[in-house]
Symmetry: D2
Subunit: 147 residues, 4 copies
Amino acid sequence: MAAGEDGVLGKTSEFRLKRRVQFYETDAAGIVHFSCYLRYLEEAEHGLWRAAGLSIAPRESEYAWPRVAVACDYRNSLRFEDEFEAHIRVAAMTDKSIRYSCVLSLGDVEIATLTMAIVCVAKATGRAASLPPAVRERLEVSADVVA
Amino acid sequence: MAAGEDGVLGKTSEFRLKRRVQFYETDAAGIVHFSCYLRYLEEAEHGLWRAAGLSIAPRESEYAWPRVAVACDYRNSLRFEDEFEAHIRVAAMTDKSIRYSCVLSLGDVEIATLTMAIVCVAKATGRAASLPPAVRERLEVSADVVA
Amino acid sequence: MAAGEDGVLGKTSEFRLKRRVQFYETDAAGIVHFSCYLRYLEEAEHGLWRAAGLSIAPRESEYAWPRVAVACDYRNSLRFEDEFEAHIRVAAMTDKSIRYSCVLSLGDVEIATLTMAIVCVAKATGRAASLPPAVRERLEVSADVVA
Amino acid sequence: MAAGEDGVLGKTSEFRLKRRVQFYETDAAGIVHFSCYLRYLEEAEHGLWRAAGLSIAPRESEYAWPRVAVACDYRNSLRFEDEFEAHIRVAAMTDKSIRYSCVLSLGDVEIATLTMAIVCVAKATGRAASLPPAVRERLEVSADVVA
């Protein structure tokens, strides 16, 4: 997110979450449980939205954002108190959906790569809806994403 | 829960949940994370309600049941695939609240003892409310609870 | 798993987990959090291993089974107390890895489809290892899996 | 933690964790699930240890720190993206145990108060052990705790 010359906020296309592994995220194998990577992805996503001046779930929101597809490739493990980064990018936007890519890394070590697609749903109808203008105005596809 | 001579269902005052420890409930110490004991307590509570023909959170319910106090004494640990029991009892009922006691055990070994108090809140007002008749008719204080 | 004519146990290639949604698995959208689907997948996987007479993480095991890839397509949501099924199948086995496919369903409604690949790692070396004989003897690829 | 005149680090007796509620911590009642408060408590505890230059679970540690008792009084709820504080204090130390008190607050609103007792266990024997010197030298009971 950057303020342009005319004082208008630029669009947000990526976000870097810094995060320390919590003990309750580890499992008996001594590493972070594989399901927690999706929680890190979600944390990074919501950080991205906040960086864009948005909340994905404000109270009384007209919209819900169900996940329609998630994939994760696990390359290395994380352990208690590891300080890792989750770097999320907007990979694609359609009329009614957003797709992200995300890389988890620990220093120079790549921990995992993830993708996630979400769809905008109007709560009133329960049906897919066009992305609301505020979202379209604040988020944009990252130039760094390889399709 | 038992059907009386007149075919009327008796009241429910206790419930025994049988449960196997899942891997995602363990932590890097190799045992179930201490926060999961509250989830086991909740599972047992909801099993108790179902045994009484009730659901604690039906859709469109007028009531919410926030927890107001929980305490747990941990005596032994649980490990992956342990098959334990959570034995919950209704320990007290007031006009607007319910208190439970619960014992987790693994065979003859006592794992933990818990207590929890919940209050009935009317969603419309956000204030404490009298227990609804269906709850009062179906749940009762266990005779085995030492006050 | 089936006992053959000669009394020898057959191999296991699939497992059906029956499961009720717990309240702590729901989120503020009123549905099961998307990360929990991976926990259901893991529960089904471990149930499959137990049905085959195996445990994936016995104490003092020489092997660990890190997940290397997971994908989930979400089609419908699950809510508190929904009684769903997770039907897991062994989709592929290589010298050092196993791949599963899994379908979550609620009655006739398909909730989600998942795939997961795990690899066998020898704890002593930290390197991928051939599947131990007991696993190779007890698990087999399901005939119903479309490649 | 403060450096004294002689350059020696002072002891640590309290820690304030700033934290934002994550979506996966909410439940279908729209608020943080009550079990998560214990996770917040643990996060604050581990932050306290790090502030004292310690880790509660370094790799190859000789000690484990099982929880023996936890209690929580819930006064108000937390919602998605609330930025709360967990203020933990060392409430008591004995030869083999530590007791904490912790207050969760959202601005001026008290959310919950917790207490937790942990015991030092030597992994080699599985028995309670005296607090190791490094812990005794770095942690001390808070002057602000009312017994």
